[in-house]
């Protein structure tokens, strides 16, 4: 064994407090070390050349770099020694910067500690064994969970690169929340006008398959090789026979509140959620359909000219393989009925922002009239309250929902455009209009559209006659304010979907205290998750407006395509390894593994001459976290690169 030790000055980062030359001299005396030197910047090209030259000249077979954290330069030096002909896993780093020079004053003890750190690294490297990268095949297809604007954009991007994408959408149509918006801030484009072309694009793309009215049932496997079970709920209409003629829903006798119109309008039991729905195929809501509730009616089946109505349709589970998954499941509105001071959701004329979107939409339930839901009269005095549920640690969520300031400003503008005599009052905590042309937009709403902005909270709303009395504080003037309003619009915050946690658990991705999915790194890996092959986009990760949702959708697509273009997937060999002879099959490691990376297998035990169950590490899934090795009572599972042997050796020399 010929070990080379290379100690780095890191300019003065290390050399200022550690006597680098002394470390190099001491290292030369360690067992197995045949070469030791120091240099100003080991990671620089000349530094790496010193390493390469020494490997050749002194026939070194293992290397220790005494410098910074392996998270910074381990990859650099693996590559460096590989170029010089040594297996890249026969290099160890002694972190004498973060663990020593940066945290201790100059002095003998600091140098002594650096020497000990190098001694440990030398001991560890002596027990390293050459490892090879492993390769797994990749299923060249991307699953997109959620067919809102984020999911649609992801599908378009992936299809554009000629890779197949599958959208799974829970609702009967794709389009998501954006489909129900009227205008979009700050440019006031009509939401449907910019969304529907994209919906048509994905539906016509030969590379995109859309499963609407479907949900994810089960996800197994790992990056490159996910196996996903999709439950297709019974639409009760044959999607292949239906032409979208609309006779069925024209004749349906049932009327129930429309989910798409936030309950402001009505829909039949067989319905399409909105005119531009994709696919343009109705669905039967079995909870309100007379055929399913009372075994009568059956009109839609009688009138359908194409025989597309199928009351006997059942759940169908399909199984598909995917190489990558993009999660785009979006958000739900905060439920403001927790606020007793705002009437516990009981006042008819207190509505949410999404209600307002439907009301102001010319194809919406009121034909674009902004009215009081209680009596249908025009709303003139309208109070908007921001931060409903957001920034409220007691009853809501602690975070800012980011878009409410903007959509409230938009609503105040649209109010004046639709009812020129109307007056908007906006109660706010702070105005957060950080975005391109956002602040200008809010200013315009205040200056040109006469919206009165009041900085303060509303403490109480109550009904008086046909008015709502809104009592709040204007903290800028220090006065208590009472407004007799016709309509109050709650800028409800964005919160995680009710089943976000169960989806996260199914996908093995982490979620935070607010049930929002957690990215791998908040700054440097904002669309990745720590589970390879699963990416995030849109508001399932944190509240996002449309531009942000679209941007992260494209970012997630690029990450997914980065996997798609590879022939096979290289995997780090620093993963757990089972020694089957020692394994008792107790499955403690399976319980311990947070990534479901361990499974059982039957082996032929030659000594016992019978079949026996032991565990096996699924190479593509194991992240090398090492939790299993501590759970194993038999020491039958070991972590490559951090083997029990290596750790014992490190302890032995301390």
């Amino acid at each position: 064994m010929k070990i080379g030790v290379f100690t780095c000055h890191c300019g003065t980062n290390i050399a200022a407090t550690v006597d680098v030359e002394k470390v190099a001299q001491a290292a030369a005396e360690f067992p197995g070390v045949t070469f030791s030197t120091a240099y100003n910047y080991m990671c620089s090209d000349p530094g790496q050349n010193i390493v390469k030259k020494a490997i050749k000249e002194h026939a070194l077979d293992r290397v220790v770099i005494a410098s910074c954290s392996p998270s910074l330069h381990e990859k650099t030096f693996r590559k460096c020694v590989e170029d010089a002909g040594i297996n890249p896993y026969l290099v160890e780093m002694a972190n004498i910067r973060e663990h020593c020079s940066w945290v201790h004053p100059e002095g003998e003890q600091t140098t002594a500690k650096a020497i000990e750190l190098v001694r440990i690294a030398v001991a560890k490297v002596s027990r390293d064994r050459p490892l090879e990268m492993t390769y797994t095949p990749i299923e060249k297809k991307v699953l997109i969970i959620g067919g809102g604007i984020a999911g649609i954009q992801s599908a378009i991007d992936i299809a554009f690169a000629n890779y197949p994408a599958v959208i799974v959408e829970r609702e009967p149509s794709i389009g998501g929340r954006m489909a129900s918006f009227d205008k979009t801030f700050p440019t006031l484009d009509c939401a449907a006008c910019i969304l529907t072309p994209k919906m048509v694009t994905v539906s016509q793309s030969e590379h995109v398959t859309i499963h609407t009215y479907s949900e994810i049932e089960e996800v197994t496997g790992y990056v490159g090789n996910f196996t996903v079970k999709i439950r297709k709920k019974p639409r009760s209409v044959d999607i292949n026979k239906c032409t979208g003629c609309g006779v069925c829903y024209g004749k349906c006798p049932v009327r129930v509140p429309s989910e798409f119109d936030q309950g402001l309008g009505k829909r039949p039991a067989i319905y399409i959620p909105f005119p531009q729905a994709v696919p343009n195929v109705p669905v039967i809501d079995r909870e309100s359909c007379l055929w399913f509730t009372e075994q009568k009616c059956g009109i839609c089946q009688k009138v359908c000219p194409f025989g597309a109505i199928d009351y006997d349709m059942e759940d169908e589970i399909i199984e598909e393989k995917f190489g990558a998954i993009i999660v785009a499941t979006g958000f739900q509105q905060f439920d403001y009925s927790v606020y007793g001071e705002y009437g516990y959701g009981k006042f008819k004329n207190v509505i949410t922002g999404l209600h307002f979107e439907r009301m102001v939409n010319s194809s919406g339930p009121t034909g674009g009239k902004i009215i009081k839901p209680s009596d249908g009269k025009e709303a003139r005095e309208v109070v908007f309250i921001q931060c409903i549920g957001s920034r409220d640690e007691q009853k809501g969520v602690p975070y800012c929902s980011r878009l409410c300031c903007m959509y409230t400003a938009k609503h105040a503008l649209l109010l004046r455009e639709h009812n020129p005599d109307a007056q908007a009052y906006v109660f706010y905590i702070d105005i957060r209009a950080a975005g391109k042309n956002y602040e200008e937009f809010v200013k315009k709403v205040q200056d040109e559209y006469g919206a009165i902005y009041l900085r303060g909270r509303v403490s109480r709303i109550f009904e008086k006659g046909d008015k709502l009395i809104v009592r709040g504080a204007d903290t800028l003037s220090g006065a208590q304010i009472e407004i007799e309003a016709d309509l109050v619009v709650m800028a409800t915050g964005l919160v995680a979907m009710p089943d976000a946690v169960s989806l996260a658990q199914m996908l093995h991705i982490p979620y935070d205290q607010n049930n929002l999915f957690t990215e791998a790194h908040p700054k440097l890996a904002p669309v990745e998750t720590i589970t390879s092959g699963i990416f995030l986009t849109g508001a399932c990760q944190a509240p996002k407006d449309i531009p942000d949702a679209v941007a992260t959708a494209s970012a997630a697509s690029v990450k997914a395509l980065g996997l798609m273009v590879q022939d096979k997937l290289a995997r780090e060999p620093l993963i757990a390894r089972v020694i089957p002879e020692l394994c008792s099959g107790c499955r403690a490691c399976i319980e311990a593994c947070p990534f479901s990376a361990i499974e059982t297998e039957e082996i032929e035990d030659l000594r016992l001459r019978r079949k026996r169950t032991v565990v096996k590490v699924i190479e593509g899934v194991c992240t090398g976290c090492g939790i299993c090795t501590t759970a194993c009572r038999m020491s039958a599972i070991d972590l490559e690169g951090f083997s029990n042997r290596q750790i014992m050796e490190e302890l032995a020399v301390l």
Partner: protein, 291 residues
């Protein structure tokens, strides 16, 4: 059903009728109230605005006195007493520093273990509405009342743990059981001006006027309260409010115990109905509730 009864200063003076009617109702329902011997001030406003420690030691003193007569829950009627006793209990339970100081002053160990109950809570949760209903002999049919809870009965909700913070309903529930008709009104927990009654009467006149006006607007013929200060502000100040705001209020302000007493068939005299500034008897007579 036995309770250590803590009347507090108001119920022995300005709110005598609250005390009378509570005892009458308790007696009629077989609820035994044992008045805590030698009880002292509960630590309300004068104490808690002058010295925090005093505002804890005074109520704890009462709790200790109650402990001496047995391990009964404390029954109290005044919203301020209720609040102070409960706050003291919370401090004694959760705050070791204050607990040590108070225990040292009073020379006894106490850790907040005695339960403090409002009489509404006792009627609804211990006696039970189901048991109350058959005892009603003279239902107050046709009497429209606005139940006014004020500030301290429900707030702070994590201390009082009594009723819904923003839209309380326990008194309304009781009124329904005794046949009265509670009106739906938004001022159940508005401020009446409280102890500003003496120092800044103008504030009380304005706030109490708003409350009276709202109650009348919603069709109430009387207001029902559970706090001596609310009663005093709405009742005692009515003539002055009428003068200042050129109004003509003549709306009786009852304690909920008085109306329950009436419905149980207790003689009006025993319920202190003559102790009000706004005489409630004409209204009761008009509604045929005195016969």
């Amino acid at each position: 059903m036995k309770y250590a009864y803590y009347p507090g200063c108001s119920l022995h003076s300005t709110a005598k009728e609250y005390d009378l009617s509570t005892r009458e109702v308790a007696n009629a329902l077989g609820i035994e109230l044992i008045e805590i011997p030698d009880w002292v001030c509960c630590g309300a406003t004068p104490a808690h605005i002058s010295m925090h420690l005093l505002s804890l030691a005074l109520p704890v003193k009462n709790l200790l006195l109650a402990r001496r007569i047995g391990s009964y829950d404390i029954a109290t009627c005044c919203a301020a007493c209720f609040s102070r006793l409960k706050i003291a209990n919370k401090f004694m339970r959760d705050n070791p520093r204050h607990r040590a100081k108070v225990n040292k002053i009073l020379g006894e160990e106490y850790q907040g273990e005695i339960k403090v109950r409002h009489f509404i809570d006792i009627l609804i949760n211990d006696f039970g509405m189901k048991n109350l209903a058959p005892r009603i002999t003279k239902p107050l049919e046709g009497l429209k009342v606005a139940c006014y809870y004020g500030c301290l009965l429900t707030r702070p909700s994590d201390i009082t743990c009594l009723d819904d913070l923003e839209e309380p309903h326990l008194m309304d529930d009781l009124m329904r059981v005794i046949g009265a008709q509670p009106v739906n009104w938004p001022y159940k927990v508005e401020c009446c001006g409280a102890s500003f009654s003496l120092t800044k009467t103008e504030i009380v006149l304005k706030l109490s006027n708003d409350i009276l006006q709202m109650a009348c607007d919603q069709g109430a013929e009387a207001i029902v309260v559970a706090c001596p200060l609310c009663q005093s502000n709405l009742d005692l100040r009515q003539p002055k409010i009428n003068k200042k705001f050129k109004a003509n209020f003549k709306i009786p302000i009852f304690y909920f115990t008085q109306l329950i007493g009436l419905s149980l068939g207790i003689e009006p005299k025993k319920l202190g109905l003559k102790k009000h500034i706004v005489n409630p008897l004409p209204l009761l007579k008009e509604k045929g509730l005195l016969g």
